[in-house]
């Protein structure tokens, strides 16, 4: 069973993301929902997830800092990180991809966009 961590301070956003993931075939996954980057790191260190989806604008620890921490961690550096954000544009996307994000998706998310972003993850 795949383990998926969703990090976003908005319960609405987490619900949308999870709904999209379930629609594209991940209804049987174990979902861990957290409200900031610090909680996401703790959850990932407790039990390695298969994928981490994170917002950018979050209190305590934002998504960009979370991404940097994940990619700097010997234990977590191979973890695929998908950034789902309202604060993205091509310039920001390029910056996040350079930091190691697997994909950057702009809000509002939709199942077709999520499917396209996670196709190789689903295939594996």
């Amino acid at each position: 069973m795949k383990r998926i961590i969703i990090a976003d301070d908005s319960a609405t956003a987490r619900m949308f993301i999870r709904r999209c993931l379930e629609i594209i075939g991940l209804s049987d996954a174990e979902y861990v929902e957290v409200e900031n980057g610090k909680e996401a790191l703790a959850a990932a260190k407790e039990k390695m997830p298969d994928i981490l989806l994170t917002d950018l604008n979050m209190p305590v620890m934002d998504g960009e800092t979370l991404l940097k921490w994940v990619k700097a961690s010997p234990k977590l550096c191979e973890l695929p990180v998908i950034v789902i954000t309202s604060a993205g544009n091509p310039a920001k996307e390029a910056q996040l991809l350079k930091l190691g994000a697997r994909q950057v998706i702009n809000k509002p998310v939709s199942p077709p966009v999520m499917l396209k972003a996670l196709q190789d993850f689903l295939d594996n």
Binding site: S10, S86, A87, G88, N89
Partner: protein, 161 residues
């Protein structure tokens, strides 16, 4: 000089795209450009834009509209909605609208920074003379309004390239 696209259109497109995608709700221009949401019916939230311009965006709507949107998005009956869910919905709507707005407004190679939304209490703060307002409504004629405040943000409306 900062390159950007027309500000007014960017916001209209951002609002339409967000409400249609998140809540299957069409948004139109309000038939009364001077319409004010009654204080007893008003809910609102705001966030700051810090880069490359400085300003604030406020989202206001009627309580009825917020309840309907919350029920639609969470697939709940109206009586099942909690205040926390409604607060989260209006904040996430503004968060999404603001991000889309800035993406549509600026050139692709221009990054930006926006803050976290915070719900307001009571009446909306008084607008500055230079503020820009978008007076909108849903197909059910429920009001939805946005305001852009801040000299450098609002100045983009006059200098669109």
């Amino acid at each position: 000089m900062l390159k950007h696209k027309p500000l007014y259109q960017a916001m209209q497109q951002a609002v339409s795209q967000t409400l249609e995608n998140m809540a299957f709700t069409e948004v139109l221009e309000h038939f009364d450009p001077d319409y004010e949401i009654p204080a007893t019916e008003l809910v609102w939230t705001s966030l700051l834009i810090s880069d490359p311009v400085q300003g604030e965006i406020r989202l206001a709507m009627s309580k009825t509209l917020l309840e309907n949107l919350t029920a639609t998005i969470f697939a709940l009956e109206l009586e099942e909605i909690s205040p926390a869910q409604s607060k989260d919905i209006i904040n996430e709507l503004l968060n999404t609208i603001a991000g889309l707005f800035m993406t549509k407004l600026l050139e692709d190679d221009q990054s930006y920074a926006i803050g976290l939304p915070h719900t307001g209490e009571g009446a909306l703060p008084k607008l500055e003379e230079t503020s820009i307002a978008w007076k909108l409504m849903t197909a059910d004629e429920e009001p939805l309004q946005l305001f852009a405040v801040g000299t450098s943000l609002v100045a983009l409306n006059a200098s669109a390239e």
